[in-house]
Symmetry: C2
DNA sequence: TTGAAAGCGCTAACAC
DNA sequence: GTGTTAGCGCTTTCAA
């Protein structure tokens, strides 16, 4: 900046004024400075500025998602990026991998870099450690999973309701033996979806059969194995509720392998790529990750703009997409 | 930091020493300082430090990919993140959307934030504007597309060779009328794949039929429409080469709709989600985005660690995955 | 309309 | 082992 000032033959503060589009600079001075900046390929250092600047904004957001390689997370990320771009805010994106230590180290990495706000997916049993940041006024929004030990804006899929609708749909088709395949109950969304499944069965007068309930399915392979076991039962399920993306995919593979895809009904939670092109096409409860990301970004920016009401919950509805696999009647 | 120093009853520089794990501090002082830092929930400000630090590293990387929501890009991103995490480097991720202006504005946003290195997918006809940064020693790696007007490390899929293998495969099955469906020729990868297609046909003694060559297909819908038109030809193709992810998906939809999926062969470039579960399963030339990302990150970090040889090219091989759709013989 | 001086939070260089 | 001083590139404050 000093070099630019020298070349333009003005004071350093004048350069600062031009760069920041501040008023009270004559047009010709502006022109001189811009020319000098151009010539020197000058790029202002946002961090140096933000050191002294009164609002201390870095124009930076920290985003922690399940995994940047997961389609759901990627859609959330994209929506956040779009909202951030409009405000010239850059986004640090990290993957949680459902690892509690990674949660903490990612958040600390964001904080050390003085992000203006945080959008987080979490796995620790408590997020109380973030209390100090909230006091300090850093906007904090939780996405996809509800935090505990702290109150902050939260954007959630209506997991229990979505699961309930999946099960209701299968009940309506006539199924009574509906298996539940879910992720680890350490995960908020898995607990909620399981709750929706159990409540709906009971509400329909069906006592849940523990042999039809499998938790802790973290990937396709485990899910496929679980389905193979279920099909080998004396009294196998006539329908399957896959409570997550990868689990549904594993179920499809296992049903195929057993030649049972036309016989056993399947409804998945979260949409599956190419679902409409499979045979049978896969009926799902679709989530809306783009809305989740867009709302989360909106909440962060509202707080950054001075909004100061108590924390709010946003529940993003799901959508039942009927495609075929969920409409197979019981044998 | 001053607060911590006061609380611990030591000088500010001693706190700095402890935070940076520098030697020559007594164990008890270290303990005192750590306790004070803990109590104050102190998070060092990396940017303030990097202002004066001799290496001027911000521990930050700028990554520009096609779109963070695209599976290929997301896999590249994930690999870069993994490599960065090991070095405590945070990653700014942005989407290019094949928009030349976005390329420039993203790069400027990265530069203003003083990233240590850049990993870029580009769309501008020249990247000469980055010359100044290279002079300045900022490591620069191009991924997926070759830059022009500048020499820098580049990591590429072997596009022409992959396309050639796809076409060779179809020729071997007996096809002579093989359609090419590709993205806009503004895009490096599209040009390369088209070149591979044309060269292989000619090499096989077949004069390319312009009516079977369609460019500028940016999404599934356009691709599906193009396939529908091709099938309506008097002398329709017996095989299709889908030169890109979304194009292959569009082709699958159109073939389905026309009831032609069992009759017309299809080979795609870049793997398609659920490809193995479709009927027929989809034969593809798979890319290796995880390797591309990992190599790109390695190259950036090597340069950051002082490696100073001329720029290198890395070509990541493709893999033909035979699944069924590409082995359908001509009518 | 412009510039000089102080200081943001930290590290480098050098003293003690 | 530890503290002091200067200064990184910028914005603020205030005077001209």
């Amino acid at each position: 900046m000093k070099n630019v000032a020298d070349l333009a033959g003005v004071g350093i503060k004048t350069v600062s004024r031009v760069i920041n589009n501040e008023p009270y600079v004559s047009e010709e001075t502006v022109a001189k400075v811009r020319r000098a900046a151009e010539q020197l390929q000058y790029q202002p250092d946002v961090h140096a500025g933000n050191l002294r600047r009164s609002d201390r904004r870095t124009g930076t957001l920290g985003l922690l998602v399940g995994s940047v390689a997961n389609p759901f997370s990627a859609a959330v990320h994209r929506a956040v990026e779009d909202a951030a771009l409009a405000r010239h805010v850059a986004v640090f994106a990290s993957s949680l991998d459902d690892d509690p230590e990674r949660e903490v180290s990612s958040v600390e990495a964001f904080l050390r870099r003085r992000v203006d706000g945080l959008i987080l997916t979490t796995i620790q049993s408590s997020q109380a450690y973030l209390g100090a940041q909230v006091e300090q006024g850093i906007p904090l929004v939780f996405v996809d999973r509800r935090p505990s030990g702290i109150v902050a804006d939260t954007v959630l899929t209506d997991n229990a309701e979505g699961a309930a609708r999946a099960v209701e749909h299968l009940l309506r088709v006539g199924h009574r033996r509906i298996a539940y395949l879910g992720d680890s109950t350490d995960i908020f969304t898995a607990r909620e979806r399981k709750r929706g499944y159990l409540d709906t069965l009971r509400h329909g007068g069906i006592a849940p059969d523990p042999r039809l309930i499998v938790d802790g399915l973290g990937d396709e392979t485990l899910a496929a194995e679980a389905v193979a076991s279920l099909l080998a039962l004396d009294d196998p399920p006539t329908a399957i509720f896959g409570a997550q993306n990868l689990i549904t995919i594993g179920a499809i593979m296992a049903l195929r392998a057993a030649g049972a895809s036309a016989r056993v009904a399947l409804v998945g939670f979260d949409d599956v790529p190419m679902a409409a092109l499979l045979e049978p096409a896969v009926t799902v409860i679709a989530q809306d990750p783009a809305s989740i990301g867009a709302i989360a970004a909106r909440l962060v920016f509202e707080r950054l703009d001075g909004f100061d009401e108590p924390a709010r919950d946003f529940i993003v509805p799901t959508r039942l997409i009927v495609r075929g696999s969920g409409e197979i009647a019981p044998g």
